[in-house]
Amino acid sequence: MMLIKRYIPLAIVFVFGIMTLATYYIPPKLAQDYYLETMNKWINIVAAFAFLLALLSLFYSHYNKIKRKVDGWGYSIFVYIGFLVVVVCAIKSEGQLMTGPALTSLGWIFRFLYNTLSASMFAVLAYYIVSTAFRSFRIKTLQAFVLFMAALFFIIGKVPLGNVLWNKLFFWTNVSISQVTDWIINVPSVAAKRGIMIGIAVGAIVTSLKIIFGIERQYMGKD
């Protein structure tokens, strides 16, 4: 049992981890033609199974909610209804959203249900941002003040109205607001982002090596 649950997965990770790493150091043609192409196919196959697994997991989770009649279990029914309707329409439309200029049933669902609902969900954020900014953004510390000033210059510089106002009020400075925002985004912002990116990259390298050499095993679960 240990062989199947532990040693074989560890061996797979070690072999393919080392081989993928090696592709950066051996002639690209050799690596691409023989190794990367085969790996890409395998990644696609594994990803397709992951989709299937996620679907089964989703169905199972909502089945349990309905069975136990937990709060809001009625919504879980719509998961099945929505899935069925989309699958039936997708099969009927042969996966196409349009036939010529006309929308298929799948296209109709995408444009008038998914599109609108998804955009509405995101748009609702605007209301909460305004409400939260008014109620919670208190400039009590130096950090909050710096954050506010950066936002202030950025907003003024990024919208046409801000440009107009700046040119009317601060023309005597001989500095355009776009110069100020460009400096903010190209110097302190990029510097901070670079630091974060380098940190993430170093962390990712360390974690990857730990996974390849079997030191980090949490991805295999608790057993």
Binding site: Q32, D33, L36, E37, M39, N40, K41, I43, N44, A47, A48, F51, G95, Q96, L97, M98, G107, F110, R111, Y114, N115, T116, S118, A119, M121, F122, A123, A126, Y127, I129, V130, S131, A133, F134, R135, F137, R138, I139, F148, A151, L152, I155, K158, V159, P160, L161, G162, N163, V164, N167, S178, D182, I185, N186, S189, V190, K193, R194, M197
Partner: protein, 277 residues
């Protein structure tokens, strides 16, 4: 006075919501046409690259976003495709997002029709392929092994004239990614442009502008169109004002409303703390 300030700080959120509705809806019905949009070098980078391509060059456009990011990325994608078709470039579209095919199909089909382009000859739509970075690395070696058929007709790719001379990503004159997350611009840079060496441009959402800027400085991107502001600049460059230009009024007023409310709340707090005690 103190009561008034207390009430102001505890303003019913529904009033704030109504203010948001007003500043966003008003300019849509009555455009203010505010001046002040300046063309930035980042946006010019994409425009100039497309402008420099000879006629009939083939470009690849990856629409890596879903309807949630549509208001920001749709206008710039439309503007770039209009520019490409106007220049008689051949366009191939694709997406790495499972929720992206509908938008990608819509944009490429709509803009191609505007310029009376023929499917298969002037433009093609690969569709969606699962795998993210694996799709990009695969396309870097052999596109036909990743997308064997197109998404609209289901015909083998090699049967389309637009695919003549195209085998891998290196054969595209320019690749543009409109990305809202992962897989997106980072993926195209790390697994595509840096690895296989092709010219890459990008369009991103406002929140992704700062994280994407370093790639512009290092010239890993030839240009960057950031959010609706970038899209409106591009519309000005191609002399075809559309949704982004119209939306800038609403965005401007919305941003100023937030600024006004934050300043108001903080001024009221200062007054309460130092003048009314």
């Amino acid at each position: 006075m103190k009561n008034f300030f207390d009430k102001l700080l505890k303003l019913d959120r529904r009033i704030l919501f109504l203010l948001v509705v007003f500043v966003i809806v008003f300019p849509i019905f009555k455009p203010l046409k505010l001046p002040g949009i300046k063309i930035t070098d980042a946006v010019k980078g994409v425009y100039n690259t497309i402008e420099s391509l000879p006629e009939n060059s083939v470009i690849l456009v990856s629409f890596d976003f879903d309807p949630a990011s549509k208001p920001e990325l749709y206008p710039m994608a439309v503007a770039v495709l209009r520019h490409a078709f106007k220049k008689n470039l051949k366009v191939i579209g694709m997406t790495l997002w499972a929720t992206g095919p509908g938008i990608a199909d819509e944009i490429i089909t709509m803009t191609a029709r505007e310029y009376k382009k023929e499917y298969g000859k002037d433009y093609l739509y690969f569709g969606y392929q699962v795998g993210g970075y694996a799709v990009i690395t695969g396309m870097g070696t052999d596109i036909y092994k990743i997308f064997s058929k197109d998404a609209k007709k289901g015909s083998p790719l090699e049967t389309f004239p637009v695919m003549q001379g195209i085998k891998s990503l290196k054969n595209f004159a320019y690749v543009i990614d409109f990305g809202a997350g992962d897989p997106g611009i980072d993926t195209w840079i790390a697994y595509g442009a840096d690895k296989f060496g092709f010219k890459l441009g990008a369009g991103c959402t406002a929140v992704n502008e700062a994280p994407t800027r370093p790639y512009l400085q290092t010239k890993q991107l030839t240009g960057l169109i950031p959010a609706m502001k970038g899209a409106s600049e591009y519309e000005i460059l191609i002399k075809a004002p559309d949704k982004a230009s119209a939306g800038m009024d609403a965005i401007g007023l919305g941003h100023f409303l937030i600024l006004f409310l934050v300043i108001l709340a903080n001024v009221v707090l200062i007054v309460q703390k130092y003048l009314l005690t």
